[in-house]
């Protein structure tokens, strides 16, 4: 099958790749670009392990063609923080035991990151509703919710301190 030329910005860097028109974005990210943070849990949009951020929206990359990402600005877990400068969500998930096997975690944190952009001061119910597209089989969510609420507090406190 002939391939398409796809250009996109991934984690701040311009990347170009060739992919079949039918190739899913998650496969291109993981197999052509070696960005293996986002995972495959269901390939039907249910579990959210493949969640990425595309042009400021949470997107399940298992049900998007790579071709649809042409020209888009994508952030994955790899783009949220680095070892010397973790994102506050990464810190809080560690602090509050918000993960166990870690398979859902990249999608979970990437989604939480967008949720807190959309709603910087969510209630517990809003976090639970806003995260309902991401399934975790290990934690029972309680500590994930705690981690996200703690991150929101920290982010708001940092914002206030900066003002």
């Amino acid at each position: 099958m002939s391939k398409m030329h796809i250009k996109m910005k991934v984690n701040g860097e311009e990347v170009e790749t060739l992919a079949e028109p039918r190739e899913l974005l998650i496969h291109v990210l993981r197999e052509r670009l070696d960005i293996t943070g986002p995972h495959i849990g269901c390939e039907t949009s249910h579990c959210g392990a493949c969640t990425i951020d595309m042009d400021g929206k949470s997107v399940k990359s298992c049900t998007v063609f790579a071709a649809q990402a042409n020209g888009k600005d994508i952030t994955t877990i790899e783009g949220l923080g680095d070892p010397d400068n973790l994102h506050i969500l990464q810190e809080m998930f560690k602090e509050h035991h918000g993960l166990q096997c870690g398979f859902c975690t990249p999608g979970m944190i990437t989604r939480a990151h967008r949720l807190l952009q959309e709603n910087p001061n969510p209630t517990e119910d809003e976090v639970r509703f806003g995260m309902a597209g991401n399934i975790c089989r290990c934690t029972g969510y309680q500590n994930i919710v705690k981690s996200i609420l703690a991150a929101a507090n920290e982010m708001n406190a940092a914002k206030e301190a900066a003002q």
């Binding site: 249910h46 392990a49 070892p83 089989r137």
Partner: protein
């Protein structure tokens, strides 16, 4: 202590040992997307495998044409049973003493069965070719209902063994019958029940479900033909056993097989078994000389690898009219699907179902389990529980409720009256187990007080009255459960898998500068072993957990062990870790004695150092001893500081707990609202309270799923009705409540540090608790029992049948 020595408490805290809510060392990589799961592995020239699967539950395979598939660009091979037969790999042994087709050998026996294996240079080409493999089937009538397996004219499923009167677990009375397994005293039990003042009887179906970890099963097999070495990365909960099986099947020496379980995205029992995908990937790699990756998709996961439960259970329980239980009789019809691939210790074809007398002092009991073949997927794994313990605990916790109804008693009082008493431990149960320890009354009283049980019952009674007056359409259920688990399999004398005794192991090397590496025969799938086992060791050898690296899952480097499932890691490998640590300390003590020029008996251990008795200023820290072990010749002592321990547990461990669930149920919609869930767990010595709490939250959520909606359902034609996440219920953050956790501590008397294991307890105790809450809500309206899963539709039907919509 001299002035230079920090206080004991300070040094102890610095170790981050037992009892510390140490943050997890695994989390740095997982939170940054740097975990290394099987599907992340990419080897040069790697090919992708994909299965052609049967659309029929029961059919003859008349022919397979692979021409069109082979013509797809990028396709390298299409394997069928005919290709595997010369290697004698078209069938493989199961963990339960049966055999299973790797690829359909003339017949298919369940929908989704593996028929052919396509190998291609990318996953899209493989998927294209799967569509083009032409298989000619001749449909046969399916057997879906196990109760119809032995009636006249029932279709015979396993024609390969139809004439065998003897199976791996004794006589078979019918070609569709696998085994009968019995425990206890049939005659006495029958007599006790016949003569009893009160008898309650109930039949209940513990439905088929699936562990469904977020990461599906998969592997990358890589045959290096130059060096003759086979490496298999896979989602294995028991990598060493996989290596042994791979060696036995392939004829390759175990020394030339390296099995690696990298990071695993949850297991819950799904990843214990050996699946056709592993065998096909290995064969394909041997044939092509290239690495072959196989990763199942979610539908394949739910429909072909490792179902759980599917027990049709009938219980009879007898008691005096005051409520003292006198006997229990249980029969189970166990639907094992097309091949008996249950993952149980060899001598236990129904797992530890004989723990079904629960937490109660029941003097007489009898259990019989009949295993049956049906046209469903094979499996029968322990989904977040020790072997069949969820089934056992569900049965007894429902029978207690049913008996309470029969006696018109409060179910909490009935439990309390029949608990095994603290002074009765070690307790010999009627069905054979010796419970090591327990203090059930204390736990129960603490739980009931915490939730103000009396007030809940008063509120419930008031709600019933309000409902009758037409003031509300919501009922209130108070779900109770008290469970005893049996985990930590197990003593080699009666527990083995494929002949391998169920010991486990730990090997420790202390480095010259006083840090260490420990390797275990287990493999974490999210439990945080690298965090907690280092804590056990820290407390034993006085080196900070932060200075101890922990490795598991690579059979070339880790000592042999039976893996992680059945909550066995802490009871067995955790014990091996403590024992290996003690060996290190014993040698270290001799070195310290030499350095301090005293007899080793004159030293005492003080957190992180050896101190001369009566002369606290004279000591050697473990760090100093470690250096000495490498830098000087000590007469009579070998250089180095290493130890290995293989631990054969003397008994199982018996964690227990008391759970209470308060639930509101909308009678008109069947919608449930969990108002409160209180969970008290006693897992003995607590290694890391933060991790224990996380395990409890997770196990309860999986319990909620199973009790309230999750199932693998088949229609009468043998089609899977719940084969994707569209239909298979996984609770989200929105459906999941907050849980209150609590604990008591009753250490195991035979475990080196008194720990019992906790990962599965909340699932085992949680399922009956959620189910009892639903059923309790309708008790006042005459409900005795209704089967799980209690989804909204079924609850609505229950309410409807009770006339609550009239």
């Amino acid at each position: 202590m001299n002035e230079m020595t920090p206080p004991k408490e300070e040094r102890s805290e610095a170790l981050k040992g037992l009892g510390c809510s140490r943050k997890r060392v695994e989390d740095a990589r997982f939170t940054q997307g740097k975990g290394n799961y099987v599907d992340d592995i990419k080897l040069p020239g790697m090919l992708f495998g994909d299965f052609v699967r049967s659309p029929y539950p029961h059919a003859y395979v008349k022919g397979i044409n692979t021409d069109a598939a082979m013509a797809v660009p990028g396709v390298v091979a299409v394997l069928t049973a005919a290709d595997l037969e010369p290697l004698n790999l078209h069938w493989m042994p199961t963990l339960a003493g049966d055999k299973q087709m790797v690829l359909a050998d003339g017949k298919v026996l369940f929908q989704g069965q593996e028929v052919a294996f396509v190998v291609a240079n990318d996953r899209y080409a493989a998927a294209d070719a799967v569509e083009l493999v032409e298989v000619e089937y001749e449909e046969l009538p399916p057997l879906v209902d196990p109760y119809k397996a032995e009636i006249e004219g029932a279709p015979i499923l396993r024609e390969d063994i139809a004439d065998q009167k003897e199976g791996a677990h004794g006589p078979r009375r019918h070609p569709n019958h696998i085994f009968t397994w019995e425990a206890g005293d049939k005659e006495t039990t029958s007599k006790v029940i016949d003569d009893a003042e009160v008898v309650a009887e109930e039949t209940m179906y513990y439905h088929r479900t699936h562990p469904c970890p977020l990461e599906t099963c998969g592997c990358v097999a890589s045959m290096d033909k130059v060096n003759g070495k086979l490496t298999v990365h896979g989602t294995f909960q028991a990598p060493h056993v996989v290596r042994t099986v791979a060696s036995l099947l392939s004829g390759i020496s175990e020394s030339n097989i390296r099995v690696i379980s990298p990071d695993i995205g949850g297991g819950f029992g799904n990843k214990v078994g050996v699946y056709p995908g592993y065998v096909c990937s290995i064969v394909a790699s041997i044939v092509t000389g290239k690495p072959v990756k196989w990763i199942e998709d979610r539908i394949e996961n739910l429909t072909s690898t490792a179902f759980a439960r599917d027990y049709w259970m009938r219980g009879k329980i007898s008691a005096t009219k005051e409520g003292k239980i006198t006997g229990l009789d249980v029969h189970v019809l166990a639907d094992h699907g097309a091949f008996d691939a249950c993952a149980d210790p060899t001598k236990f074809p129904a797992g530890f179902m004989n723990i079904c007398t629960g937490s109660y002092d029941i003097p007489t009991a009898y259990l019989a389990v009949d295993g049956i073949y049906t046209n469903k997927a094979p499996g029968g794994v322990s989904y977040r529980c020790s072997f069949r313990v969820t089934e056992a605990v569900y049965l007894i916790e429902r029978m207690i409720e049913v008996l309470a109804i029969e006696l018109d008693m409060d179910a909490a009082d009935l439990r309390r009256m029949n608990f095994i008493k603290k002074e009765q431990f070690p307790y010999q149960a009627a069905l054979g187990w010796e419970y090591d320890s327990g203090d059930y009354h204390t736990a129960w009283d603490k739980a009931l007080e915490a939730v103000d049980y009396k007030a809940l019952r008063a509120e419930q009674a008031e709600r019933v009255e309000a409902f009758k007056r037409g003031e509300t359409r919501k009922l209130m259920g108070v779900g109770l459960s008290f469970f005893t688990e049996i985990v930590g399999a197990g003593p080699v004398k009666n527990c083995d898998i494929l002949g391998m005794g169920m010991f486990d192991s730990c090997e420790i090397r202390i480095h010259p500068t006083g840090s260490a590496i420990a390797r275990l025969g287990t493999i974490s799938q999210g439990q945080g072993h690298a965090t907690t086992f280092a804590q056990i060791l820290a407390s034993e050898i006085g080196i900070s957990a932060d200075d101890i690296t922990l490795e598991e899952g690579d059979t070339d480097t880790a000592p042999y062990g039976l893996g992680t499932y059945g909550s066995r890691s802490t009871p067995v490998a955790g014990a091996a870790t403590a024992m290996a640590g003690r060996k290190i300390r014993a040698k270290a003590q001799m070195i310290a004695a030499y350095l301090l020029e005293v007899h080793d008996g004159d030293l005492e251990w003080d957190v992180d150092r050896f101190v001369v008795k009566g002369a606290p200023e004279r000591f050697k820290t473990m760090k100093e001893v470690a250096y000495a072990a490498y830098n000087q010749a000590i007469p009579g002592i070998e250089p180095g500081l290493e130890a290995v321990s293989y631990y054969d547990p003397p008994n199982m461990t018996y964690p227990f707990g008391a759970y209470v669930c308060v639930m509101d149920i909308d009678v008109d919609t069947g919608v449930t609202d969990i108002r409160r869930f209180y969970a008290l767990d006693d897992c003995g010595t607590r290694i890391n309270p933060m991790i224990i709490e996380g395990q409890v939250h997770g196990g309860l959520t999986e319990a909620l799923a199973v009790a309230l909606g999750q199932e693998i359902a088949y229609d009468e034609m043998g089609n899977v009705k719940t084969g994707s996440l569209m239909d298979f219920f996984l609770p989200t953050a929105w459906e999941t409540p907050n849980y209150e956790t609590d604990y008591t501590v009753t250490p195991s008397p035979h475990h080196p540090i008194g720990a019992k294991g906790v990962g599965e307890s909340p699932h085992v105790g949680g399922v009956p608790c959620f189910s009892n809450a639903v059923q309790d809500a309708f008790r006042a309206f005459g409900l005795k029992h209704t089967n799980m899963p209690h989804d909204h539709w079924r609850i609505w039907q229950t309410a409807n049948k009770l006339g609550l919509h009239d």
